[in-house]
């Protein structure tokens, strides 16, 4: 698991209040029961805070799975 994915995993655990949650690049909203639009917003907000980044509207709209999230974060950190 890449370092970014690991930290994203931590954020998922925080937002979904589940310490055992394990995600991978293919994980999407259909696989996590609580991942609804409300939680998606919380997820984005905590990711932004954790990584010190800001997602653009277009990026938010295009996100489909954890892999998308990780690659956007990694691109922004460069």
């Amino acid at each position: 698991m890449s370092e970014t994915l690991e930290r994203v995993n931590e954020v998922f655990r925080t937002v979904f209040e589940d310490d055992t949650l394990v995600i991978n690049e293919g994980t999407n909203a259909e696989q996590i029961e609580k991942w609804d639009s409300l939680q998606h917003i919380n997820l984005l907000a905590v990711l932004e805070e954790t990584f010190g980044i800001t997602f653009d509207i277009d990026e938010i709209v295009a996100m489909e799975n954890v892999g998308d999230i990780v690659s956007i974060i990694e691109a922004k950190k460069k």
Binding site: E17, L38, I41, A45, V46, D56, I60, V61
Partner: protein, 597 residues
């Protein structure tokens, strides 16, 4: 709950909300209320946050969340679902996005806007008879014509000002209408931080996610104030708390206070903050380890904003602080949960926390941080003010004189006689409504049912034909004590039930309860009532009156009258009203009747 302050951090609150919620739900004395939220934007996660903050105040909310941007329709048209929900509070969750400034072109567009909002509030009041919490409006982030936006007619900043003035005016003129001041909150965090356009464009949140906790706390604070869950008093240390340094070592001239030094200046500002609190009726006291004469010298300095007179009880001695605090609370007749304690010493803080887990203990390291905390957590949030509030400090000071007097008399009866007490009896009316509701909601100890009411509910109840109400104001040789007892009696043919009865803790031991029973017994007899009933629902705090009716020879009752009260309370019956009238005769109080009807 001191961790409350840390929960203002969005991620922390988000990650802990489930855990905190579960632990808070363990409390069995939670007060249940119903909150309807009418939305101009997405309320979303604010609901979870609001629930957490309310639970931490001992209030369990049930929610009705209206549809996005349907607040106007849901308020101003028939709404059977909302009616059925029967809210205690309606939160009108709107922002400047819901103003029509950018949709209007006419010269007098503000008039139409103001009419719209007045209609919403009037309709909500008429239909639901509950408390209304209205967000006021933040400034727009852009102002197009610079400073002209405030100076020139039609400018968008001036427009927001006019709207906020309307909201404030409405709150002043209408009881049960409260402002959630997002204009202040957005200014506090800064407009540039308050908004997050992406959150609005994508999800219709009117503020950045990071500020949802602050917003939710602010709403919770209004509700807890209305429900009588405020702190009422503050107990403070002296050295390194009200001034810099230890007065016993440095002498009065050596302590840091006053505008000449930066650190002294910060203590002066802190003293001003506390002095302002006391102006709003918050009772200030001192618990300090010092020789009395030495400690008090600090407050006698010209540069000390706080004067000896600003404090009601000054426990400046070498006794353990816990004992002094217990003494102050007893003399004030207040429970630990009504108090905030300030001290710079961590050992003192820990020992007070250990002895009184319900006291809010704040360790003073930096007075600025203390002010931030007192302010943000709004321990003394004031939703409305009755004239009695402002006089509270005076009441306690008068009480101190009464205590001194007590020591001069051989018997307690003699002491009571010497007070020259006079009770003025009236019924609940618009004139005393605010104080009556406040007393019902704030009283925990002498309160038989601990029912909480909104002003609107009380208007309806006291206005209905089968209820009689009794309000007592007390005067004595030291002054006016204000309204100190309220009882409500429901009649049903020849039976009558005291459904609610509260008495202020300021007047315990003055035979007021005896007089009230006497008045009720007499009034019942005049209205051909044969059986008088009392009810009692136990809580943590009203145990001392669990056997109150027994003391006046009421018998436990499980017959058929007033079946609705059977589920949640113990009923008591008195069938000999003549006897009750006789044993409640008091010679120490003169009774006057005032008729408001």
């Amino acid at each position: 709950m001191s961790e409350l302050y840390d929960l203002l951090d969005y991620s922390t609150l988000l990650s802990k909300k489930k855990e905190i919620r579960q632990s808070l739900l363990q409390d069995r004395n939670l007060l249940e209320i119903k909150i309807a939220v009418l939305c101009g934007g997405t309320f979303g996660t604010a609901k979870d946050f609001l629930e957490i903050f309310l639970l931490s105040y001992g209030i369990k909310p049930n929610f009705f969340i209206g549809d996005y941007n349907r607040y106007y329709e849901e308020a101003c048209f028939e709404n059977p679902q909302l009616k059925e929900f029967s809210p205690d509070f309606i939160l009108v969750y709107v922002s400047n996005k819901n103003l029509m400034y950018y949709e209007q072109t006419e010269e007098n567009h503000l008039t139409g806007e103001q009419d719209k909002w007045r209609n919403i509030w009037n309709d909500l009041h008429d239909r639901y008879h509950c408390s209304i919490i209205q967000n006021n409006f933040e400034y727009y982030p852009y102002r197009h014509i610079g400073n002209g936006a405030r100076a020139l007619a039609g400018g968008n900043i001036q427009y927001v000002d006019a709207m906020n003035e309307l909201v404030s005016k409405y709150a002043q003129d209408n009881t049960g209408f409260y402002i959630c001041d997002i204009n202040y909150m957005s200014a506090y965090v800064g407009l540039a931080n308050w908004f997050d356009d992406r959150m609005w464009y994508l999800y219709k949140y009117p503020m950045a996610m990071a500020h949802l906790p602050r917003y939710a706390l602010n709403v919770a604070n209004i509700i807890k104030a209305v429900m009588g869950k405020n702190k009422k008093t503050l107990i403070t240390d002296l050295d390194n708390t009200l001034w810099g340094g230890v007065i016993g070592e440095l002498g009065a001239q050596g302590i840091e206070l006053g505008t000449e030094t930066p650190r002294g200046h910060s203590y002066t500002d802190f003293q001003k903050y506390l002095k302002d609190l006391s102006k709003w009726g918050i009772v200030l006291n001192i618990a300090s380890k010092n020789n009395y004469q030495t400690g008090i010298q600090g407050l006698q300095l010209k540069k000390s904003v706080l004067r000896e007179d600003d404090f009601v009880f000054k426990e400046i001695n070498w006794e353990p602080k816990g004992d002094n605090i217990a003494g102050i609370l007893t003399k004030l007749n207040l429970l630990p949960e009504a108090a905030v304690f300030l001290d710079d010493n961590d050992m003192e803080c820990d020992s007070v926390k250990g002895a009184f887990p319900q006291i809010e203990v704040i360790q003073v390291k930096d007075v600025k941080a203390v002010m931030d905390r007192l302010d943000t957590l709004s321990y003394y949030e004031m939703a409305s003010i009755s004239s009695d509030d402002r006089k509270r400090e005076q009441y306690y000071k008068d009480n101190r004189k009464r205590e001194l007097l007590k020591k001069q008399y051989a018997s307690y009866e003699e002491y009571l006689d010497s007070l020259h007490m006079e009770c003025i009896q009236s019924a609940i009316s618009m004139e005393n409504m605010e104080r009556v509701v406040q007393l019902l909601n704030k009283t925990n100890q002498f309160n038989f049912m601990t029912n909480r009411y909104s002003i609107e509910q009380m208007e309806q109840l006291s206005g209905s034909a089968d209820y009689r109400s009794y309000v007592l104001r007390l005067e004595d040789k030291f002054g006016d004590n204000g309204i100190i007892a309220v009882a409500l009696v429901k009649t049903d043919s020849d039976c009558a039930l005291i459904t609610d009865w509260v008495m202020s803790c300021r007047v315990f031991g003055r035979n007021i309860e005896k007089l009230m029973l006497h008045i009720i017994a007499e009034d019942c007899m005049e209205h051909s009532v044969k059986h008088l009933y009392g009810c009692y629902r136990g809580t943590e705090k009203n145990k001392p009156i669990a056997d109150f009716y027994d003391r006046y020879h009421f018998a436990k009752y499980d017959g058929g009258a007033f079946p609705n009260y059977r589920n949640n309370s113990v009923l008591w019956e008195c069938s000999d009203l003549n006897m009750l009238k006789q044993i409640t005769e008091t010679n120490n109080i003169i009774l006057r009747r005032e008729n408001h009807e």
